[in-house]
């Protein structure tokens, strides 16, 4: 019996390798997914804050198998003349060749650029840049938040946003003072304080797989078959912050409403882990 079970598993692996699309379809047609989840079921989230001592703030986030690490480095600079009290927050998503064979070394891929851009836009909505002011018009903090993907298995935007929120919550900036004579900023590491995120953001991604099935939190193999994806972001008071639909596949307004509803439920799942 055990042997035939093994044979079935082996045949299944071969089938998946040779006909990945057909393999997925068989599951979807029977109202289930290849990893046993229901259509609207998300993968579990795990958050570890502040593991990296070389960064001023950091967090490691796992969504299913997808793993990202976000580290924030703080430096000081002169503010923009037009916004004398605002600091800088530059967020970049790094999809290295280590996390998946689909990425090449060197310049960021298109997917990485899109992710960086979108995360940056969301960061602007949640983080108050004036909290980075040291001396108006003279010196502000400049934060570089780098989100490095360790393992890519779909849902990279969800993981990146959660990691950024967690890393910003973990961020501790040393007490800084501007020396007006020399124009240099001195900082005291022993007097570090939390900056705090303005409002937490809770992302949820949905995918239209094979132009027929709407699934929550698609993994890599499902994302490959997706014709459309929908990112829904709520803030901590349950207000809708961002809805972003990509891809050519059609989503009815009822489907979108259902996804928004489901995303709100996802909020509590993420909030618990944070």
């Amino acid at each position: 019996m055990a042997e035939s079970g093994q044979q079935v598993a082996c045949a299944m692996q071969t089938f998946e390798r040779l006909h990945p699309t057909e393999f997925q379809r068989r599951f979807l047609a029977q109202n289930t997914r290849h990893d046993g989840r229901e259509f609207m079921q998300f993968r579990p989230v795990q958050v570890v804050k502040g593991a990296i001592s070389t960064a001023q703030g950091s967090a490691t986030v796992r969504v299913g198998n997808t793993t990202v690490v976000c580290g924030i480095k703080a430096e000081v600079c002169e503010p923009d003349v037009k916004r004398p009290t605002e600091g800088y927050l530059a967020t970049n998503v790094e999809l290295s060749p280590m996390c998946s064979a689909q990425f090449r070394a060197g310049a960021p891929s298109e997917e990485a650029q899109v992710a960086s851009e979108h995360v940056h836009r969301l960061a602007g909505q949640m983080f108050d840049l004036t909290s980075l002011c040291i001396e108006s018009g003279r010196a502000v903090w400049s934060l570089a938040a780098d989100i490095v993907c360790i393992k890519h298995d779909g849902g990279i935007l969800d993981a990146a946003v959660v990691a950024l929120v967690a890393a910003l919550e973990d961020l501790r900036l040393p007490k800084a003072e501007l020396d007006l004579g020399t124009g240099m900023v001195s900082a005291d590491r022993t007097m570090a304080t939390h900056v705090g995120v303005g409002k937490r953001l809770f992302p949820a991604t949905f995918a239209l797989v094979d132009d027929a099935y709407v699934v929550a939190d698609a993994d890599d193999s499902e994302e490959r078959m997706a014709t459309a994806s929908l990112l829904v972001v709520h803030d901590d008071r349950g207000r809708l912050v961002n809805v972003w639909k990509r891809g050519g596949g059609m989503l009815s307004s009822e489907t979108i409403a259902r996804c928004v509803q489901r995303a709100r439920e996802r909020m509590t799942e993420i909030a618990q882990t944070l």
Binding site: C77, D80, Y88, N92, E94, P97, A144, D146, I150
Partner: protein
């Protein structure tokens, strides 16, 4: 101190930003023994896990083997892809290539996204250190690629050694044919005393550092790097001491790899 290179494919910060002057003095290394209270010849505790990045189901984009390695504060992650179709279709032997990247937040200073010549050289060092262990003649026309990301570093020589150990474990996880696992260890000289596995603060205070990687059961030194000046006797002594450390690290790696098979 980072001069920000403007790259329109990334989100850029301000044109120029600098680290503030930190007022708190860092503790003086070796003023009163080692900063973390270790013995001079003690290597930081090691943690290894193979297969954290491996696929649960067969997938073309997942690596064939992977490993996560910690040594004190150093955290390194590595993925092996291959053996896959190589570039040279008539090669008698397989090729082995490494790619090494520090995460931008992994060092005490901020790093650029663009690969520095330092990272390129470390990638070469890793190839030279690991290459002798792989049975490349068993993989004609194929290429084996190792991608290493440093999540946190603490001491340059120790980080390179950690990367070598990490690749070594990942290659075993990928089922690549090896002569032996490679184990690496580093040492720095402070005064006339060699100190094992130095942290960044300790390394900054030292005048000379040595990195050795070896295959203990074949008894072959696969890589040797000395940076800084010593007497030949001190060098010989350090190579010997480092080799002994390598054997200890090797025992940890092997014990772990054996445990994964049971």
């Amino acid at each position: 101190m980072a001069s920000n290179v403007f790259d329109r494919r990334r989100i850029n910060g301000p044109q120029r930003s600098v680290e503030p002057l930190y007022t708190a003095k860092a503790a003086e290394p070796f003023a009163n023994g080692r900063l973390d209270g270790r013995a001079l010849d003690q290597v930081r505790p090691i943690f290894i896990k193979t297969g954290p990045l491996d696929a649960q189901s067969p997938s073309a984009s997942a690596p064939s083997g992977s490993a996560y390695y910690e040594q004190g504060k150093i955290r390194v992650s590595c993925a092996i892809y291959g053996p896959r179709q190589g570039r040279q279709s008539n090669a008698r032997m397989g090729s082995f290539d490494c790619d090494f990247k520090y995460a931008p937040f992994s060092c005490s200073w901020r790093l650029s996204h663009i690969k520095s010549s330092d990272e390129k050289e470390i990638a070469l060092m890793l190839e030279h250190a690991i290459g002798p262990a792989i049975r490349l003649e068993a993989y004609p026309k194929a290429s084996i690629d190792a991608f290493v990301t440093v999540i946190e570093s603490d001491g340059k020589a120790a980080t390179i050694a950690a990367a070598i150990n990490c690749i070594s474990a990942a290659l075993a996880d990928a089922g690549i044919e090896l002569y032996d696992s490679v184990a690496a260890c580093s040492m720095s000289m402070y005064g006339t005393q060699w100190v094992s596995d130095c942290s960044q603060a300790e390394e900054n205070a030292s005048t000379c550092s040595l990195l050795v990687s070896r295959m203990p059961s074949v008894d072959e030194i696969t890589y040797l790097l000395q940076h800084g000046k010593t007497t030949p006797e001190m060098t010989t002594q350090a190579i010997q001491a480092c080799s002994n450390d390598c054997t200890r690290v090797y025992a940890v790696i092997c014990r772990y790899l054996q445990a994964t098979l049971e």
